[in-house]
């Protein structure tokens, strides 16, 4: 427990350092403007970090492994399909037809609706096999991806850049009007989420043990699936898909914090995610001045780390 406290403290300090560095590094003359711009990005990064951290940790506990992330369930494919469809229909008029708010709501509702349909489909059929749920989600996701790619072929290359911009998460064009409602949703969910971490502790022991210890297993799983769906949807609609971020940060967190307690793990994971995103954003934006979205880098790093994990572990 002592080591955990120490690591926690270090991570908090790292986060503070990262925020300070990001906010104040090389501010230039118009510091007020720069600070406001960067402040919004930092806020967005923190919101997204908490969404990703909670949803990924909870998801991995439900599915009893460390190598899956909730975004593979098809959320991102739904998002991309919606974005492609909009551009496909309205072309370069997209931004005039649909306001940022409209698009955000449409995407969030689309993703949550998809998740609920999926849950109902599986649970109404009396199959409480979570893996089946995931597989159906992924297959639908593959189908949506095919439809998206088909439309993307037909889209004018100049309009295509609008779609491509949506394919990768970026913190560079955060809509400030959307940030605060998202943060509000996040706070509510986290309050619920943190009061229920003890159930995650029990769920981690496996289905049979959870039932033995008096948990209504199906109800608990459904509760967490709903929380996960909302968090992933909000984060994806806000900045775009970062598929493998969750994978990278959960595993890093478990390496650093050797505990089974989900309140500790999730809180730590929020911090680790924020540090990762901030430093990634900082490096890309300030040091390399690269135009590559930070999510592409994170997916690359996360993906390589995942391969390393898969090959290193003797038994999964």
């Amino acid at each position: 427990m002592k080591g955990i406290k120490k690591n926690f403290l270090i991570t908090v300090l790292l986060l503070l350092a990262a925020v300070t560095l990001y906010l104040f590094y090389n501010m230039g003359s118009n510091w007020e403007f720069a600070l406001r711009l960067r402040g919004v990005k930092v806020a967005a990064i923190i919101v997204v970090s908490c969404c990703v951290a909670y949803s990924s940790v909870a998801f991995q506990t439900l599915t009893n492994n460390r190598i899956l992330t909730p975004s593979i369930m098809g959320f991102e494919s739904v998002y991309l399909l919606i974005q492609t469809l909009i551009v496909f229909m309205y072309g370069d008029l997209t931004f005039q037809v649909l306001s940022g708010w409209g698009n955000f709501l449409l995407s969030v509702l689309g993703m949550i609706g998809f998740a609920f349909l999926l849950y109902i489909l599986i649970y109404k059929k009396g199959k409480d096999n979570l893996y089946l749920l995931l597989l159906v989600g992924i297959i639908l996701g593959t189908l949506f991806n095919s439809l998206s790619s088909f439309m993307q072929l037909l889209i004018d290359p100049s309009d295509y850049f609008i779609v491509q911009g949506k394919m990768f998460a970026t913190f560079n064009k955060i809509n400030r009007d959307l940030l605060w409602p998202s943060a509000g949703v996040l706070v509510i969910l986290l309050v619920v989420g943190f009061r229920t971490t003890k159930y995650l502790d029990v769920l981690a022991l496996g289905r049979d043990q959870a039932i033995n210890l008096g948990l209504n297993y199906n109800r608990a799983v459904q509760l967490f699936l709903v929380i996960i769906a909302i968090l992933v949807s909000v984060s994806t609609a806000l900045v775009g898909p970062i598929t493998f971020l969750g994978l990278l940060v959960t595993n890093l967190t478990y390496e650093l914090f050797k505990t089974h307690r989900h309140d500790v793990i999730i809180a730590a994971c929020c911090l680790v995610t924020a540090v990762t995103l901030l430093s990634g954003q900082f490096v890309m934006e300030r040091l390399f001045h690269l135009s590559i979205p930070v999510s592409a880098i994170i997916n690359l790093v996360g993906g390589l780390y995942f391969m390393f994990l898969l090959l290193r572990v003797r038994k999964l």
């Binding site: 003890k198 022991l205 049979d208 210890l213 008096g214 948990l215």
Partner: protein
């Protein structure tokens, strides 16, 4: 008392349990025996609500299990299955503490801590109570999980093949622990066993299942009988007496 009334279960067209009626005596060890596929584990899973039956009811203390709140039922009845292969950074004591979850969730009271310590002592885990469970040997892990069930302090304790993958020494140790739970703590124990001699030696009652039906249900003394066993297992078994306990020999 646990009563099972007209329980049936089928997977697709295959009938696994067919109209099972049973009552399990309080404060005794009842063993479920039978060949592979006879329905022993399925029955145990249904009694412990891990699996939903297709027909019939399970009554605990005169009340249908479906009418219980999950939490309350978890204070009356516990189940220990095989396949507890979690890879969590969990110490033995933390695992055992989960046994108190039905009572206090994650906020343990002094009484809870006392029960946890008592369970750890009961299973002789004091030396390794701070070790992580993923670093334990099979026998130690089994004992840690048993301690958790003991800490759960339920009147009814159900165990699904607890001797699987244990060597002889640990098997005997496990059965002795269960015997003490029944004798000293007045627990009602229902256990699925493969080894007929362990059933003969340590249980008070034996239920023999065959093809999803209760074939025999009687005191151990009456079941451990050449004719009965041959009927249950379809092989020749000779029963001899040794130190006033019956020993079955099926190497014939």
């Amino acid at each position: 008392m646990i009563e099972v009334k007209d329980i049936s279960k089928h997977y697709g067209r295959k009938v696994v349990l067919d109209g099972v009626d049973l009552q399990f005596p309080i404060g005794k060890i009842t063993s479920l025996i039978g060949s592979n596929g006879a329905g022993k584990s399925t029955l145990l899973s249904i009694v412990s609500r891990l699996l939903a039956q297709d027909g019939g009811v399970v009554m605990v203390d005169g009340k249908n299990v479906t009418d219980y709140k999950n939490k309350v039922l978890a204070q009356r009845l516990s189940i220990l299955k095989q396949s507890n292969h979690v890879r969590l950074k969990l110490t033995v004591r933390e695992l055992v503490s989960f046994g108190r979850f039905p009572y206090s969730q994650d906020k343990l009271t002094d009484e809870d801590n006392e029960k946890v310590d008592r369970a750890i002592h009961f299973l002789d885990l004091e030396d390794i109570k701070d070790a992580y469970i993923d670093e334990l040997s099979g026998g130690q892990k089994q004992r840690a999980y048993m301690a958790m069930v003991v800490a759960q302090d339920t009147d009814y304790v159900l165990l699904d093949e607890p001797l699987n993958n244990l060597d002889m020494k640990h098997s005997v140790q496990t059965m002795k622990t269960l015997r003490r739970l029944a004798d000293e703590w007045k627990k009602t124990i229902i256990i699925v066993l493969h080894d007929i001699n362990f059933a003969s030696h340590y249980s008070d009652y034996i239920v023999a299942l065959k093809d999803g039906k209760v074939k025999y249900c009687d005191t151990t003394d009456n079941i451990i009988n050449e004719k009965v066993l041959e009927d249950v297992f379809d092989i020749k078994i000779s029963v001899t007496e040794f130190n006033s306990k019956k020993v079955c020999n099926y190497f014939m």
